[in-house]
Symmetry: C3
């Protein structure tokens, strides 16, 4: 997912991904343009200085044509800003420490400010400073230890959503364990069951509407010991959807700060959709279909195809895309108010770039 | 989908579709009744004239029995008004002009008032004056040209949702093309890929929350070169769901202005559900089940049966109904507040009439 | 679904279900704690008596630690109260009267107050005083008579959702029958079609947003004449979801008044999810996966597995759980604000207890 410029102001460049430096330069111009735009559309006659003794006449209201042009410039500025640089990056693959054959993951939960898109910072809770938390990727049969240090101001616990563990590792306060209080450390340890491979999640199961909405969530991927032929892909993308107080996000960021997916022409990619939010998100890929292979880590009886996949809260769906159509393809939630307004695209939008 | 009377005031007539003239006469009576009803339920003592010198005593509040009867009359009036005549009809099959072997569709986008149900007109955007726009129906491998004349007051573009086209035909402003400004004409031209048959859509992909919600959408059906046996049906219905500022609609109309589906006993029909809205709509057919064959134009691995099919935004689902149960069958979204209130049925309601 | 204590205050007891007496004692303590808690969190300085001449200093605001502890106590109190005793129990299996080989079910619709969780009573409509109404369970080919006595203050009718009946038994006022007015009795009678087995529902189809939301709904289960091997289970649970004015409920009750599901280790259970509400509810089971076998009473082409099953309004989904993981497993809607707040779990939460 490297930097990819989508367009410049004179011609569509869908097939011409280019480097981050140029994007940054263009992005800066776009930001200036966006600023000018904002001033223009707010056009506030009352702010005209009157101390000169000469009162400026009030600006005429914008014509329909001017409004249309302003709308287009806002759309363009958003696209040109993509992929926008923000502070912080979630879902980074975490390397475990190995202790006596056990894969040990140390997680520290804290409260922080998280930059969702340029300049928009929200109150967040995070594992290891990341929203989503670090990506945990193990193998069926692995012995795994997750050590949680609670540096939040409230209690918490981790549920391993999709893993079929002994009940004392299930992470539900007062049902399977006491809550982990502020300042405390709690250790989960288990063997990942054979047959339980696939796309799972870990997240808080205490005051969870707030804590999961706030960012205490991450991908827990279990690699199978014997992958199926259809699973052999060139890239493997985790795609976590959320929709709480942070706004509409993919992997913790809103457009234009979302990351593009990239592939070379002819490659096959896997996308692991995971919904950690409160709403459905029917994910629509342009230009190519998706072949659905797994639901919640379990193989579907037969793969099936679609271009719009409805992902409900708590669900995981794994799809394969054969990237046989070159270009830059919009990829977004098809609940349109999650993706676009008259100010341009926002929220749950990214692209899949298929490079020739 | 011709006029079909559902009932009269004395007996249920579910198996007795009759002519539009009688419906119109009954409808007029029903409208009168509904009007009287409204006056009754609003029963406003403050409106009593006082200039006579004799103040009328305030009307007593309605008894529960009177309220129940009033509710029933409103329900009955809605049913008797069905299918109500309104101005404008969307989703009409469009015949292309053939130019050098290319099927040419001319679309003009305008802003207009659209009558969603009798007397309720909403601000709309439409292709060729229709909501949904004209139905485009081509065949795999066809060469197709879509010429869009933008007579809106703002820019637009068309995305062919579900078609796997070259990226410069994908219709996403600033990613694959410039926006089409007011007054401009833009031409899309492409060969419909082999293997890409099924129920697709075309719609705006610019300021789309407003433009698609406003009506810039239509069915794009691709016939296969070799239909499967299960696809050989007696009627083929397109059923587009929407839920924006126009209210809850099927093919651009709300009950009682929705159109009934009709079939003769023993016939098989295909229904192509397409959701262009922002919400799920679980479609429930009474009396017979639906056999789901396709998702987003792609065959499901095996057909499967249901009576309530959840259709999410951007999705298309194709089903077959074997019309083996005679009668007039309610057919509605099962989110009940999308279909009924104490004022009767409204919004996402129609019927399937199976004639003996 | 007998009483099951989940925890005490000193240690997690996930594998140790115990008796109701102890639960009640603990529950009383928990209620006291909860009451003290409420007073503490409301901590209202203005209520301090001033007539003593000595004004008490205002209480300091709670520290973060105190707030965290208060939150934990509310969570604990909820869990300890589970399964909480309330007045009324819905979905009770109804034994028909047999008259000339016909299974006769007498239903009386009334308005009443329904206790959704301890101390929270809501205005409801109910069949035979139950929300959901009595569970009707018949066999394919049975002759069935349902006699409805309408003792509501408004008209009603029953639709047998999922059954493929003659149209005059379909229960849609003004389309298939007149409304059943207050004080009237109406008799439905039909033969359950062969091949129409599975998890169906009966509910009002008149003013249904209010009447179904209010409680006029129940399970209508049709046993097959030849069950499939996969249907042979140790327990068969009906699990009706609702989300109207009663709040988020399972079988008419909100946590902690929901009922636990129970099984012995190694048993196989069937769960029949039915959504009578207005929203989707993705049901998540901890600890074990669910194998989906039927949709709306129709066998899926092949069983498939998941741990989170999205159930939309009007849908029924049947799943099998092989209870091979001992413990007390949270089982809840994964739209988190339907299941938990900072005051603890509520609404759409129960547990599956797998006893060793």
């Amino acid at each position: 997912m490297s930097g990819t410029r989508l367009s410049d102001s004179t011609r569509p460049l869908a097939n011409d991904p280019t480097d981050r430096r140029r994007f940054l330069r263009d992005g800066a111009l776009a930001a200036l343009a966006a600023g000018a735009l904002t001033a223009c559309t707010k056009g506030d006659a009352a702010a005209t200085p009157v101390a000169t003794g000469k009162t400026a006449p009030p600006a005429p209201p914008p014509t329909p044509r001017e409004k249309s042009e302003a709308m287009d410039r806002m759309h363009e500025a958003g696209i040109k800003a993509f992929p926008a640089k923000t502070e912080g990056k979630g879902n980074q693959l975490m390397s475990p420490r190995i202790a006596d054959g056990v894969k040990v993951y140390e997680l520290t939960a804290t409260e922080l400010q998280w930059e969702v898109e340029p300049g928009r910072r929200v109150s967040a809770m995070a594992y290891n400073g990341q929203v989503p938390g670090p990506q945990i990727r193990v193998r069926e049969g692995d012995r795994v230890r997750v050590v949680l240090h609670n540096k939040l101001s409230e209690s918490t616990a981790i549920h391993f959503h999709g893993l079929e563990l002994p009940v004392d590792q299930d992470g539900v306060p007062f049902i399977t364990q006491p809550p982990i209080k502020p300042g405390e450390t709690f250790t989960y340890e288990f063997t990942v069951p054979l047959g339980n491979s696939g796309s799972h999640m870990y997240h808080s199961h205490h005051n969870a509407t707030k804590q999961v909405g706030g960012g205490l969530l991450g991908a827990f991927i279990v690699e199978p010991t014997s992958p199926r032929a259809i699973e052999k892909v060139d890239h493997d993308y985790v795609f976590i959807l959320n929709d709480g107080t942070h706004g509409y996000t993919f992997n913790g960021k809103s457009f234009p700060a979302t990351e593009p997916l990239t592939a070379k022409l002819g490659e096959r990619i896997r996308i692991r959709f995971m919904n950690e939010g409160m709403m459905i998100h029917p994910m629509h890929l342009h230009g190519m279909h998706m072949t659905v292979i797994d639901k919640d880590g379990w193989a579907q009886p037969a793969p099936w195809k679609c271009d719009t996949l409805n992902v409900a809260p708590g669900e995981r769906w794994d799809v394969i895309v054969h990237c046989n159509n070159p270009g830059t393809w919009a990829f977004h939630c098809h609940i349109l108010p999650h993706a676009e307004s008259d100010h341009g695209m926002f929220g749950m939008v990214t692209v899949l770039v298929v490079e020739k």
